[in-house]
Symmetry: C2
Subunit: 375 residues, 2 copies
């Protein structure tokens, strides 16, 4: 048999925040640097074509000054045609590591050019059903173009790939239930424990904020919107799941911003007045403990009852969501026809640049494998 | 863009025991029946080419009488040439759903013909290092031929694929630790609980045997060999792991057949005399409980200490292996550079025909995707 070496696949990386930088670091290191040919990096303002004219290697430490000095204003259309030109048929990959709403809106156009997409950006697949249907029509198995977004749910944890395996092998999903937010996992793992705890809800939120576990405005986590986006992404992979016409906005979502605080006009006022909600959360916790349960903020897709929702739930202390869930871990359980007596459970860190970047690069590898299997 | 339909890939299925039959059922059902072209089935004696000359469809209920009536004596060489003839370049898949030692010994030859292999048979990759190296040299990325064995560890759980993702994206594995045997999971989950338990070890084993959770001779489970095979398979995917020259036989494995019973000559004598070991296990259990721990039979790959071993371990009652592990579930934890504070954990049923077949068919789908991505 002739010697075989899988060819490198051209890649453009847009977005150089925490996750984008970690993706860049992984792409520049062996063994990945042999599998991909990085032809462009860009932040929100500037783009830089590679290799550098000087022939100097790009590194995780030198890219920023070089981008600032030699970059051109970012123009997505040019990025796409560069990618298209560098690729054999169906060969290039566009990585959208931005938090932009704008770039996802042109995914159908990018995919329509035969350019594959990998993204940790939740916006594309958790917004309107119209955009989602448009994307679906442009990707495998409807075309030979590929779209992967593993890291949009659970970061590096194999959540979407497991759901895909279950469905494509003919299993029937009955329920998906999980703690999808690292921030809310931390808050409730501290606040509501099997042995009982006296800590105040407002104090836990403040510690979480001070340690950088929350968004700058903690209401962005406590609103449940991030969880609703993740549920939307999962739900859309299940053929029998309710159609969420407006995406995450169609998911009934219990907000943890207490009603009495909904009129706080700034995050400072909100944080100051957070203790006003302590009695409410104390009662929830003590009521649960009387039943030997803890409270957790969960996302639930319940196909038997045709419901998708984000809410506070109560779980027995020997449940996987209770004692064994620690820190800011995500935990997701799949109850299916095959996994009916006990669910299939995946648990681990669900946030952070390195593990999110791992979700992105494992998607890149899957595309690389699919494009290079044939000699 | 031209309309695109991924072509069906030819498949031959050898082995029609519990798992093979479940694979057949999944392959004959939508959506999988559109992705694969089943050209042959065989048990240990007879093979049947498809489609049937009568044009009648094969079904999960009619295949056995048809095979008995119209089958020809099984001849692996003919199966391989049929598969080769039915395939485009690199297109066919050989499924070895037997428990044979013989068929795995010719995997290198099959792969050398450019025929892809999917198998739940642990023998190929848990035996000698020589056979393993021979297989590795014949598959991607060294050639364009594919080999998948996801179901050899954890049945349908995504264990091997997760390990592959971690390694290929550049993470460093520090430790893999898990309860890999459904039988031993059940036995210790019953025997050693967080609250304490008075049940006798010999009684738990008997209940497990009576319920069909053990091999016909329970010593096959209690010897730890099955766990050692799974550890070998995992260990060989980790570049820095110790070379296990003799495969599972090179893994130090604590046997649960107590020394005093090692001279039992039949399984009947063994089962009769099993209570002689109860004091030994009682003491292990009560010693652990004094430290607020439970005992579990685990497989451990410890890269920091360069050790691969199967043994009884003690775990705190709030550990994921303790309270949250139930029934006959497998649980596997990956501690890595990225997942260092808390491990990535996967849990769920790790045995049974349907979930093992799911591991097989999800591998088939991955190969199908890799062979059909390009238009």
């Amino acid at each position: 048999m002739a010697s075989f070496t899988p060819r490198p696949v051209p890649v453009a990386l847009i977005g150089l925040g925490g996750v984008g930088k970690a993706v860049l670091t992984q792409l520049l290191s062996p063994p990945l640097n042999a599998r991909f040919n990085l032809i462009l990096i860009a932040n929100s303002r500037l783009s830089l074509s590679l290799p550098l004219p000087t022939g100097a290697p790009l590194t995780p430490t030198n890219y920023l000054p070089i981008l600032e000095q030699h970059g051109n204003p970012l123009d997505i259309a040019s990025v796409l045609s560069l990618l298209k030109d560098s690729s054999e048929a169906n060969g290039g990959i566009f990585i959208d590591s931005t938090g932009s709403e704008l770039i996802p809106s042109i995914y159908p156009q990018i995919l329509g050019m035969g350019i594959n997409i990998v993204t940790p950006n939740k916006k594309a697949t958790s917004s309107s059903n119209e955009l989602w249907q448009d994307i679906k029509s442009k990707i495998y198995p409807n075309t030979s173009t590929l779209y992967y977004g593993e890291s949009t749910v659970g970061a590096g944890l194999p959540i979407l790939s497991t759901l895909k395996d279950l469905i494509e092998t003919g299993d029937e999903i009955e329920k998906i239930e999980g703690v999808f937010s690292g921030t809310l996992s931390y808050i409730f793992n501290e606040f509501s424990t099997s042995q009982g705890s006296n800590v105040k809800f407002s104090d836990v939120v403040k510690v979480a904020k001070d340690n950088g576990y929350t968004e700058p405005d903690p209401r962005d986590d406590l609103s449940g919107t991030d969880v609703a986006r993740k549920l939307t992404i999962l739900s859309r992979l299940i053929p029998t799941s309710p159609i969420l016409e407006e995406g995450y906005a169609s998911v009934p979502t219990e907000s943890l911003v207490p009603d009495i605080l909904s009129n706080a006009s700034t995050k400072e006022e909100y944080l100051e007045r957070l203790a006003e909600g302590d009695d409410y959360f104390n009662k929830l916790r003590s009521d649960a403990l009387k039943e030997n349960k803890v409270i957790r903020y969960v996302g639930v897709i319940d196909l038997k009852n045709n419901k998708v929702e984000c809410k506070l739930g109560k779980y027995p202390t020997d449940h996987a969501f209770a004692t064994a869930l620690k820190g800011s871990d995500n935990i997701i359980s799949f109850t299916t026809k095959r996994y009916s007596a006990r669910p299939l459970i995946i648990q681990g860190s669900g946030a952070g640049a390195d593990v999110t970047a791992m979700g992105v690069t494992s998607d890149l590898i899957k595309i690389h494998e699919r494009l290079t299997t044939r000699a």
